[in-house]
C-alpha cells in the first residue's frame, strides 16, 4: 500500500469516527434533554419543597423507621408461612395454566399458524403487561378477599414469562430426535413426550424455579390490596403508624427472600 493510499484510508477512518461521534453526541443530548424536562416536572412543578421541609425533617422521618418492634415477631410466623405457600401454589398453578399457551405459542407445535399462534403470543404478552397489583385487584373482586385471589393473581402473572421462555426453547429444539421418533411410528403425543420434552425440561424447570423466586417477592405485596399474606401485616403496621413494626415486616420479607434464593439455588442444582 502506497503512502498516499494509506493517508487516504486514515482520513476516511477519521471522518467516519467523527461522524459516529457526532451522531452519538446528538443521541445522548436528546436523552439528557428529555431527562431535564422530566426532572423539571418532577422536582419543580410537582414537588412541594416547603412541605417537605429541611433535610433534617426528612432524616427525622427516616429515623423513625430505624428500630425493630420485637413484640411483633410472634405474629409474623403465620403471614410469612402464608406468603411462602401462596408463592408456591401460585407458581404451580401458573405452570399448569401455561401449558395450553405454550402449545399455541410455539411455532413448531402450534395447531394453526394463523389463529392459535398469534393468540398464544398475545396471551403471553398480555399476562406480563398487567402488573400483579392490577391482577390482584381483579381477582379480589372476583373471588373475594383472601389468599385464593393472591394465588390466582400470581398464577396469571407467571404464565407469560414461563410460557415465553418455554415456547422459545421448544422452537429451538434439535429436530433429529423428533424425526427419529416419527420414523419409528410415534404419534404427535409421543413426539411431544419423547422427542421434545426431554430436550426442554431443564430449561422449563429452571424457569419455573426462577419465577417461583420472583413470586415470593410478589406474594409479599398481595396483601396490600386484600389478597392475604405479609402485605396485610405491612399495611396494618403502616396505617397504625407503627414504623418499627414496618421495619420488622420488611426484614421478615428479606429473610424469606434470602431463604427462597438459597432454596432455589439448591433445587435448581438438584433438578438440572
Amino acid at each position: 500500500m502506497s503512502a498516499a493510499a494509506m493517508a487516504l484510508q486514515v482520513e476516511a477512518v477519521r471522518r467516519s469516527r467523527k461522524q459516529r461521534w457526532r451522531r452519538s453526541l446528538g443521541f445522548y443530548g436528546l436523552i439528557a434533554a428529555l431527562a431535564l424536562v422530566s426532572a423539571y416536572t418532577v422536582l419543580v412543578v410537582d414537588t412541594d419543597w416547603a412541605r417537605l421541609g429541611s433535610l433534617g425533617a426528612v432524616l427525622k422521618s427516616v429515623g423513625r423507621f430505624l428500630a425493630i418492634d420485637w413484640s411483633l415477631i410472634p405474629h409474623l410466623v403465620e403471614p410469612v408461612l402464608e406468603t411462602f405457600m401462596m408463592a408456591c401454589i401460585g407458581t404451580l398453578v401458573g405452570a399448569i395454566l401455561c401449558i395450553p399457551v405454550i402449545w399455541m405459542g410455539a411455532l413448531n407445535i402450534t395447531p394453526s399458524r394463523w389463529i392459535a399462534y398469534p393468540l398464544g403470543r398475545f396471551l403471553m404478552t398480555f399476562s406480563r403487561s398487567i402488573h400483579e397489583i392490577v391482577w390482584a385487584l381483579i381477582f379480589v373482586s372476583a373471588v373475594g378477599l383472601g389468599s385464593l385471589a393472591g394465588i390466582l393473581a400470581l398464577a396469571m402473572r407467571s404464565i407469560g414469562f414461563i410460557a415465553k421462555i418455554t415456547a422459545e426453547a421448544i422452537e429451538n429444539v434439535d429436530p433429529k430426535p423428533i424425526e427419529a421418533i416419527r420414523a419409528v411410528g410415534g404419534n404427535g403425543l409421543q413426539v411431544l413426550r419423547y422427542g421434545i420434552m426431554p430436550q426442554v425440561l431443564p430449561v422449563v424447570l429452571g424457569t419455573i424455579i426462577f419465577e417461583w423466586d420472583i413470586n415470593i417477592r410478589r406474594s409479599a405485596i398481595m396483601g396490600l390490596v386484600g389478597a392475604g399474606g405479609l402485605g396485610l401485616t405491612f399495611h396494618r403496621q403502616m396505617v397504625m403508624f407503627n414504623y418499627p413494626g414496618v421495619t420488622t415486616v420488611i426484614l421478615s420479607i428479606l429473610l424469606l427472600i434470602v431463604v427462597g434464593e438459597v432454596a432455589s439455588h439448591y433445587v435448581r442444582k438438584a433438578v438440572t
Binding site: 428529555l34 401454589i89 398487567i130 402488573h131 385487584l137 372476583a142 383472601g146 420488611i250 427472600i257
Partner: protein, 273 residues
Amino acid sequence: MPAAATARTWSRYRYPASLFRFLALLAALVFVGYAFVYLDVRLERLLDLFQRLGTLLADRYYPPDFAFLSTPRYLGSILDSVQMAYLGALAGILLAIPLAWFASYNMTPSRRVLYPLARLIIMSCRAVHEMIWTILFVSILGFGMLAGVLALTLFCLGFAGKLLSEEVEAIDKGPVEAIRATGANELQVFVYAVLPQVRVAWTGISIYTWDVAFRAATVVGFFGAGGMGWYLQRHVQQLDNQRVAAIIISIVALVLASEIASAWARAAVAKGK
C-alpha cells in the same frame, strides 16, 4: 453366559437416588396439599369464578367509561407516568453501571470490599418489591412524583444491576489482558476492554429496563406516588367501576405498546450492533 433370561427394566436412576427422588416428590406434594388446607383456600369459589367474573364485568365494569381517558387531567397523568418511568430508569441505569462493574466477579477492582458491597446493594434493591419502596418513600417524602421516581430508581438499580453485571461476567478475557498489559489502570481496562464488549447487550438491557420501569410506573400511583395509578386507586375506592375498567384497559394498552416498541428497538440494536 446364557442369553438374558429375564427382561431387564431400565431406569434412569438407581436404587438410593430413585428413592430420594421419590421421597422429595412426595414431600413436595404433601406440602402443596397441606398448603391448600393451611391457606383455607375455598376451592368451591373457583367454580363460580367465571360466572362471577362474567356478571362482574357485564354489570359493573361494562361499559368502560372511555370518555374519562381523554380528559386533560388523565392525559396529564399518563405523561407523568412516562416521565417518572424515564427518570427512574435513567437514574437507575446510571447508578447500576458502576455497581455492575464492582459486582462482576471477574472485573471488580476489589474482591474483598467492593464486590460484596455492590452485590449487597443490588440484592437488597431487588429483594424489596417496588410497591414497598413506593410506600416507604411516600411516607417519608409525602405524596407525589418524587417518591415514585425514587422508588423506580431503586427498583431499576436492582433490576439493571443484576443483568448488567451478569453480562460483564460473561466477557472474553483476551482484550482485558491485552489492555492490562499496556499498563492501564482498572478504570481504563473497564472503559477500553469491557465496555466495547458489552455495549450492545447493555443497550438492550437498558431498553428492557425502561419497559419494566414503565409497567411499574403505571401502578406506583396506587400508593400515592403520582401518575395513572393515582386515578386507579381513587376510582377503585369510590367503586367507580366503569372508570376503573377504562383505566385498566388504558394501562394494558400503553404497556403493550411500550413492550412492542421496546422489542422492536432491542431487535434493531442487536441487528445494527
